[in-house]
């Protein structure tokens, strides 16, 4: 087989679309452990909340796979990779030969060692099966404790709350979404959650999960001495790269599978992309695992093109998050919390607590390197442009950006022309 992809998530879809940009002929085989069409993983919170039905989960219609000449081997797990023989083995006893392989196995939930966590009614919230379990559980439970105030924890908490469950979210750091938010953004989002009735407790975590003699869940002992009664615990600390397959095959891994600037791993013909990969960061230039959707797609897309033999360097990942809290939208991109005391960074903030509106812009050597918006997010993409294309920001332009009105006329002339109106000769 010319192209084999392990994993059926968004990195895999990116790869299919990348391959098809260059090679429209050769068959692609996708092997996926989950027995479901590729679904929007973030949509499981919308499903748990009851905002969408199962019919809206699929990312691409069946017709997409037919048209793209992709065969799917679902409900099938790859058990080993032989990078010398260029084969993969599955749990169904099959051996598949590849010319080019993509490892897009995503992440697995990270579970810290909390005493009492082994046993019933402790869940993760990272895949469709978890969502279905929680949907059926939600009918009979009253109280839930969610451990982790990051993206997944907040989404799990919010959707359980929407099902009528009394929810408390525990976050060890002093604020929710600590990486993507600063204090102001976290406070605004936090107060919105509090208004609705969702409890968030920061600076505290679970010390032990309490069970009775029969092993039934009773509640959670917190590090500050409190005890919270509950019927289920959801552990949503985050995900770690699912790289065991690669490691066992002798492929180089660090925090994730190591890839070069073409998404190639250390083994010939083997590529990696998505939550499992440690790839170049656009702003810092070093290699990082940034487990978010857009990166997974972009890395897959780039890997796919390179799998065909094309020569396409990866431009780099950019951390970005968009999350709404009961009608309060927030967006954060790039560097939001610059290193303290580093004078090469410049930040500007504008906060209106009444209007629940916040804007923070972070400049580094006169380039915009990151921002947070809460409330008024409508211009977000225009800020992203400055970060993504690393456009220089002259003083007058800076004022305009700080005033919250970035626009395309601030772009350097040449860049504007190339982007918006290429191939035109200007009148004299």
């Amino acid at each position: 087989m010319k192209y084999v992809i392990i994993g059926n998530g968004i990195a895999s879809i990116g790869a299919i679309e990348g391959i098809r940009k260059v090679d429209t002929k050769n068959e692609i085989l996708v092997i996926g452990a989950e027995d479901a069409p590729a679904y929007g993983r973030p949509l499981i919170s919308y499903l748990l909340a009851g905002k969408i039905g199962p019919d809206r989960l699929a990312l691409r219609p069946q017709e997409f796979y037919d048209r793209s000449n992709v065969s799917l081997m679902l409900g099938t797990k790859v058990t080993s990779i032989d990078a010398q023989a260029r084969t993969v083995a599955t749990d169904k006893g099959e051996t598949v030969t590849y010319e080019n392989l993509l490892i897009a196995t995503g992440g697995i939930p990270f579970t810290p060692p909390i005493p009492g966590s082994d046993g019933s009614d402790v869940y993760n919230f990272t895949n469709l099966a978890h969502a279905h379990t929680l949907i059926s559980k939600a009918k009979e439970i009253k109280r839930a404790v969610v451990i982790g105030g990051g993206l997944i924890g907040l989404k799990a908490g919010e959707s359980l709350f929407d099902r009528g469950v009394d929810v408390t979210i525990l976050e060890l750091s002093p604020r929710i979404l600590s990486l993507a938010f600063d204090e102001n953004a976290a406070a605004l989002a936090g107060s919105r959650l509090a208004e609705v009735g969702l409890n968030v407790r920061c600076g505290v975590s679970a010390k032990e999960i309490q069970r009775d003699h029969d092993g039934n869940l009773k509640g959670v002992h917190l590090t500050d001495g409190d005890f919270l009664q509950c019927d289920v615990v959801v552990i949503a600390i985050g995900v770690v790269p699912n790289y065991d397959l690669a490691q066992e095959a002798g492929i180089a891994v660090d925090r994730g599978i190591k890839v070069d600037d073409h998404m190639r791993t250390s083994a010939a013909g083997v590529f990696a992309a998505g939550d499992v990969a440690q790839a170049k960061d656009l702003l810092f230039g070093d290699d990082r695992v940034i487990p978010i959707w857009t990166n997974a797609y972009n890395q897959g897309f780039c890997a796919g093109k390179n799998m065909t033999g094309a020569d396409v360097p990866f431009t780099g990942s950019l951390a970005m998050n968009s999350i709404s809290f009961y009608g309060l939208p927030t967006i954060s991109v790039g560097t939001v919390n610059p290193p303290e005391g580093d004078e090469t960074y410049d930040t500007a903030v504008s906060l209106d607590e009444k209007k629940k509106s916040y804007r923070k812009l972070v400049f580094h050597n006169d380039r915009l390197v990151g921002y947070v918006l809460v409330g008024d997010i409508d211009m977000a993409g225009m800020y992203t442009a400055f970060v993504k294309f690393q456009l220089a920001v002259p003083e007058d332009a800076k004022k305009q950006i700080l005033a919250g009105a970035p626009d395309v006329l601030m772009w350097p002339d040449e860049f504007f022309k190339e982007t918006w109106n290429p191939g035109v000769v200007e009148p004299d």
């Binding site: 857009t294 997010i377 009148p427």
Partner: protein, 148 residues
């Protein structure tokens, strides 16, 4: 594929493209009703936006990029690239209003629908005879719909 190319040398900032866009996407197809009523009541919104800076102006909307950042960001499959036409297509039934695309599109081409938890994005006036309404309406030919 054919795209709309905005030329700031010719744009006079008259906003007629916005009016034309709203009209083309309205129920009534009547500029006055669309502008006065549907805009407020139904949250009808232009996919075009005119930017002005002194006497320089330009009207922009979705570029239908070859490799769109919005598609890479869409968590629902609501945005995708039509392989036949090359257009970046939006399926409002699938959209869950997460604003990931709005954050990711560096061209600022995606707006929030004012009343629904959905996005508003240029569809090149799909199905409209004579092509995009904004191009037809521009009095100074600052917008060109062509293959380049």
């Amino acid at each position: 594929m054919k795209r709309v190319y905005p030329d700031k040398e010719y744009c006079i900032g008259c906003h007629l493209c916005e009016v034309a866009c709203i009209t083309a996407h309205s129920k009534s197809k009547d500029a006055i009703i669309a502008f006065r009523e549907e805009q407020g009541k139904d949250g009808l919104t232009a996919c075009k936006k005119v930017f002005e800076k002194g006497d320089i102006c330009v009207a922009i909307s979705c570029r239908h990029c070859d490799e769109p950042s919005c598609v890479a960001a869409c968590i629902s499959g609501g945005l995708h690239k039509d392989p036949e036409t090359g257009r970046t297509v939006y399926d409002r039934e699938k959209c869950v209003g997460c604003w990931s695309c709005l954050m990711a599109c560096p061209y600022g081409a995606i707006k929030r629908h004012p009343t629904e938890n959905k996005i508003v994005k240029c569809d090149l006036c799909e199905g409209r005879e004579g092509g995009p309404a904004c191009v037809a309406a521009c009095p100074n030919q600052a917008l060109k719909y062509e293959e380049r």
